[in-house]
């Protein structure tokens, strides 16, 4: 699958919901089947760590392995179906003006920051801290057990045929977005990434906007 730049005809004044998520903060909301979720990169090159759970059964969740394996490609773009650990379609990407999104880089955490950068980086804010706070406050039984390999929208993690994997400068820019239609009732969990130690946010984490349209 090559990158597919697909614009959306949906208008921002028709949304049923919109909210700006500042860098370093989580976002969690139920998206009903048929609704369309847009994540908008307001200022450019902002990684948006994202997980999905079935609203009906939280043990069913986005599965990175199944999603990339079934489409035969590690990047997400228009035409991608996000699959669950049960093999069911959760969402379909219907528009994308960035071109490709990461499935392998995962989320930063206090502990992984100690490994990747320096032991004293433990106290920098991280995506997993945002995820854990959101799950604790959502209060429906989801916890660290439910944190699996997430999507990084707008993040550029190229892999070479020799097997090298690197975090590179972003390929997104201000105003780019990705849009997906829910194929079941889902809970979306976002961490707007606070990472300052690699180029995933261009060393300057910025806000993103979440918009939702009815079917």
């Amino acid at each position: 699958m090559s990158s597919r730049f697909t614009e959306s005809q949906r208008l921002a004044d028709n949304t049923v919901f919109s909210e700006v998520v500042p860098a370093g903060e989580p976002f969690m909301r139920e998206i009903k089947k048929g609704q369309v979720l847009r994540i908008l990169d307001l200022e450019g090159n902002q990684a948006v760590d994202t997980l999905f759970y079935s609203a009906a059964d939280n043990e069913e969740r986005y599965d990175a392995n199944a999603t990339i394996r079934e489409q035969g490609n590690i990047y997400l773009t228009t035409g991608t179906t996000l699959l669950s650990n049960e093999g069911n379609p959760m969402l379909s990407i219907v528009a994308d003006t960035c071109g490709r999104h990461d499935t392998l880089g995962g989320a930063c955490s206090a502990e992984s920051n100690t490994v990747r950068y320096a032991l004293e980086k433990r106290h920098m804010h991280s995506c997993r801290d945002s995820f854990l706070m959101a799950l604790a406050k959502w209060d429906n039984g989801l916890s660290k057990r439910d944190l699996s390999s997430n999507i990084n929208f707008f993040m550029n993690v190229p892999v070479t045929p020799e097997g090298e994997l690197t975090f590179e400068d972003g390929i997104s820019e201000a105003g780019r977005y990705v849009e997906m239609r829910a194929e079941m009732d889902v809970i979306v969990l976002i961490s707007n990434c606070p990472q300052l130690n690699n180029p995933c946010n261009a060393y300057n984490p910025t806000p993103v906007e979440v918009l939702v349209w009815d079917a």
Binding site: A64, I68, L104, V115, R145, T160, P161, E164, L165
Partner: protein, 246 residues
């Protein structure tokens, strides 16, 4: 640290040995300082494998941290497997195969039915067709774990190359009869595995390969250990790990 860094298999130090047929599932606890050799008996085997800290099973193998810490999409000699807590569960101290897949996950029931047809226990008895997902779920269930605890697994002996455009290509013939990989455990680890075929294996027949498991007392990583010193990220992950056992 105590230990005999880099020491190969000494028959006098073997603790146990066990064969696992193709399509089977297995689990067991391997202690810190012991090494598990997984051998592909006949060539073409696949071993879907997950690791959990035996003392706190919320801590588990983390694909993303393992890959980004070592700037690689596959694992081989010199690599380690990270937990989500910045520690090293195990190190790959020897590998005659050269590439172990980390990104494809496991087969499931509908995939196996689609690829190989139906073969139930009722008709086939113990030759019934198994799948990776149900096999891992079966094993983790023995420890009170379930679907929520199943995360991206390793696929030992399998190679999937990612092309420049992101396309994934399964490479046949990656592992031959007798190829092996040594996993030296740096933490007390619950190891869970399935010997079902790789989900992208194009082989049209249900024909999962047998493996052999051998565990010996190798000692934990020394200061001069090649896995510890293969990158600064691994050095820091070993520091985090050793603090747990300080």
């Amino acid at each position: 640290m105590s230990g005999t860094s880099g020491k190969g298999l000494d028959p006098k130090l073997v603790l146990w040995e066990e064969g696992v047929p193709g399509g089977a599932h297995w689990s067991g606890v391997i202690r810190r300082g012991n090494t598990l050799r997984v051998t592909d008996t006949n060539g073409g085997a696949n071993v879907s494998m997950l690791f959990y800290n035996h003392e706190e099973k919320l801590e588990r193998y983390n694909m993303a941290d393992t890959l980004k810490g070592q700037h690689t999409v596959f694992l081989t000699k010199g690599n380690v497997c990270y937990s989500d807590m910045g520690r090293v569960l195990c190190s790959i101290t020897e590998d005659t195969c050269g590439w172990h897949d980390t990104i494809c996950g496991v087969s499931n029931a509908s995939m196996v039915r689609r690829k190989y047809g139906e073969a139930r226990y009722q008709e086939k008895h113990n030759d019934y067709y198994r799948n990776g997902y149900d096999s891992l779920l079966n094993e983790v269930g023995k420890y009170g774990l379930g679907k929520r605890d199943l995360v991206a697994s390793l696929n030992l002996f399998s190679k999937v190359v990612v092309e420049e455009n992101g396309n994934m290509k399964f490479q046949q013939g990656n592992s031959n009869a007798g190829d092996f990989v040594d996993l030296r455990f740096e933490m007390h680890t619950l190891v869970v595995l399935s010997t079902c075929q790789h989900p992208l294996d194009p082989e049209p027949a249900y024909n999962p390969g047998d493996i052999n498991l051998t565990t010996w007392c190798s000692g934990a990583a020394g200061d001069d250990d090649p896995c510890r010193n293969s990158c600064s990220e691994n050095q820091r992950a070993f520091i985090n790990t050793e603090r747990l056992f300080a």
